[in-house]
């Protein structure tokens, strides 16, 4: 049975409200008619005391979540743009991430921060950023980028019911409206693991979030051209399955990282660190990184299309890595992901 990304989010939120004592959803717009992109529409009527509309006060609201967690609640703090999540960094990094350690285990802050990566339709420099590596850098934070409905159901359930610390869920706006078929591949762990999407022998692609989908499109095309790709959906940015990554690269000898963010000091850099610290000799060729161009995000469509890598760029890079710089295969046309995936028009 197929299910949309946002339907899975709604299911996860419903389960949180029904099965977790004193769970609450707090953030700007949680009671409005759009309901965080239709993931909690109607919740206010059902749970009047636990769906809490907040003033435009991200800093204090993040602190209110910490205080609520200390007093036995499970707060879910929403940010319709991950960029707004930057306003909670003092509370997230100085407090929530450190509360357990700094006080020697006297306290725990079970809590969730849902941040939506806004990339979709001319969102520009401050409505589109993928800030996973900033947060995954911090001990005490778990940072997850679910790429499909089953990952959402599994990881949100685990985070809410079992994990005792702060979890950042980076949801991708481009995925919300998409329908996914049942997934045979399984996460190696809901919060501290990754997913082997497909086995292959020529090259390992490690992808995050919406780039998993783009890599899957590339993979179909590459198969037709005789290239066998092993695809890893990284899922947990802070706690990826290192063994899965190293074993895969050991098998294929080649690694391409396709991330939603800038390559410098980010997921691309970290994957290289993991493999090199495991055994640099498993690499039979230089690794490649794909992500956003190292500039702030431009608004103009023409520039935005150059800014983000797409299926064409992935196929082109993989072909060169596997068959050599001069090898020619039939490449898919360059097509922006927003054109391909977008099921909506307008500012959201």
């Amino acid at each position: 049975m197929s299910k949309t990304y946002k339907a899975a989010l709604k299911e996860a939120m419903q389960e949180a409200m029904d099965k977790k004592p004193y769970s609450l959803i707090i953030g700007q717009g949680v009671t409005d008619f759009k309901g965080i992109f239709d993931t909690i529409v109607g919740f206010k009527d059902k749970y009047p005391n636990r769906i809490i509309e907040s003033p435009l006060s991200e800093d204090s609201v993040a602190g209110i979540c910490i205080g609520a967690a200390l007093n036995g609640a499970y707060p879910i703090n929403t940010h319709i743009r991950a960029d707004f999540g930057l306003l909670i960094f003092n509370q997230l990094i100085n407090l929530a991430a450190k509360y357990k350690y700094m006080f020697g285990g006297l306290f725990e802050i079970p809590s969730m921060y849902r941040m939506v990566i806004g990339r979709s339709w001319g969102q520009g420099a401050q409505h589109s950023q993928s800030l996973q590596s900033l947060m995954a850098h911090i001990p005490g934070l778990v940072v997850v980028m679910p790429a499909d409905p089953s990952s959402i159901i599994e990881s949100y359930r685990y985070a809410i019911q079992k994990h005792k610390g702060p979890v950042v869920m980076l949801e991708h706006r481009l995925l919300y409206e998409l329908s996914f078929d049942d997934d045979k591949a399984k996460l190696s762990h809901p919060l501290f693991g990754s997913k082997l999407e497909k086995e292959g022998s020529d090259i390992t692609i490690i992808a995050t979030s919406v780039m998993v989908l783009e890599a899957k499109r590339a993979l179909n095309h590459l198969e037709k051209n005789g290239i066998s790709v092993e695809l890893i959906n990284l899922h947990s940015i802070s706690h990826p399955d290192k063994e899965m990554i190293c074993k895969s690269v050991e098998k294929t000898g080649k690694m391409l990282i396709v991330d939603t963010s800038w390559p410098e000091y980010g997921v691309c850099a970290e994957m290289n660190r993991i493999v090199n610290e495991y055994n640099p000799s498993v690499l039979k060729a230089p690794t490649k990184s794909m992500g956003m161009v190292s500039t702030p995000c431009p608004t103009a469509k023409a520039l935005e299309d150059m800014y983000y890598p797409d299926v064409h760029d992935i196929c082109n890079t993989v072909n060169k890595m596997v068959n050599g710089d001069d090898a020619v295969i039939d490449l898919p046309k360059k097509e922006s992901m927003t054109d391909f995936y977008k099921h909506f028009k307008g500012p959201f």
């Binding site: 800093d59 204090s60 602190g63 910490i66 205080g67 003092n90 407090l95």
Partner: protein
């Protein structure tokens, strides 16, 4: 005027305030030995505030303290032996030595963690109070901060939210007029009372920050009103920081403040003027403090397992 009140309440408050002062003076005495190898922000001069407020709090009322938190930690009942062990970075400290002076906490006594980032736990009290209200509890939540925190945006955000959602929080400002080395006159352009009132939050002020009895009596009215109305109230208590911002010394020679101003406070300080009670309590408190110091010195060091646990 010296308060010659000898009621049991007065004696008890005096005892607790004096206990805090002797703890702080012991830290000053120990500091050159390097038994404590981390910054200390001493409460000397401000003990009466903590003692007067905590006298009206129940065990399950929570106080969110800050890096100048020795007084509140001790006044609310934080264990003294684990306090010294914590300052000395020992395994049997309250937080296994990972916290030190700046991050004191003792949840069983309702002392919730101290942060070293000014104003960063104010909103925590609001959040805990919000849940308490949902749970229909009768507890109250105190957030304790200095006058420096008044300039932070999160203070205003927290006042707004607390008023909007009507939560049982006491916003307690200890005003010693200094943020590190800067006086309020160089930092604030607003009227605090007007600001607080503009959020429909009642504002009270106590000038006699040295007078634990008066603080207890006046704050009782405030705290009782929060308990019954389940609404926030703001209380500012004017006080004086006798020592430097951080460390065991005095810094009057550095020029940013005048010793005469502190001497005015000291003249009113019962812990200095009431020599009779002071000498009556001295031996008993000294023994307790010395025993706690010995506990800290004898305590084992944390190990690698402690380094890696509690992440």
């Amino acid at each position: 005027m010296i308060n010659l009140n000898t009621s049991e309440t007065y004696r008890s408050l005096f005892y607790q305030a004096m206990r805090i002062r002797l703890v702080e003076e012991k830290i000053i005495e120990l500091y050159p030995s390097d038994l404590i190898q981390s910054p200390v922000h001493l409460s000397i001069g401000q003990e009466a505030v903590a003692v007067g407020i905590c006298a009206n709090l129940n065990l399950d009322d929570w106080v969110f303290i800050n890096y100048r938190g020795h007084a509140f930690y001790l006044a609310k009942g934080g264990p003294i032996k684990e306090f010294f062990a914590e300052l000395m970075g020992k395994k049997t400290g309250q937080s296994k030595g990972k916290a030190g002076s700046m991050h004191l906490a003792s949840p069983n006594q309702g002392i919730i963690g101290a942060s070293a980032v000014v104003s960063s736990t104010i909103s925590h009290a609001v959040g805990a109070a919000l849940i308490s209200k949902i749970k229909n509890e009768k507890r109250i939540f105190v957030t304790n901060f200095g006058d420096g925190a008044l300039e932070q945006g999160v203070m205003h955000e927290s006042l707004n939210f607390a008023s909007l959602y009507k939560v049982p929080v006491l916003f307690l400002c200890e005003d010693n007029n200094l943020a590190v080395h800067s006086p309020k006159s160089e930092r604030q352009s607003f009227s605090l009372k007007s600001l607080v009132n503009s959020y429909s939050i009642p504002y009270y002020e106590i000038d006699e920050g040295y007078d634990f009895l008066k603080i207890k009596q006046k704050s009782k009215i405030v705290i009782d009103s929060i308990r019954s109305s389940k609404r926030p109230v703001f209380l500012k208590i004017n006080t004086a920081r006798y020592k430097e911002h951080v460390g065991p010394g005095e810094d009057f020679s550095s020029g940013y403040r005048n010793e005469n101003e502190i001497n005015k406070w000291k003249k009113l300080d019962p812990l200095i003027s009431n020599k009779k009670l002071y000498s009556e309590f001295l031996d008993k408190i000294k023994k307790e403090v010395d025993d706690a110091v010995k506990f800290g010195i004898d305590a084992p060091l944390p190990d690698r397992e402690d380094l890696l646990s509690d992440v």
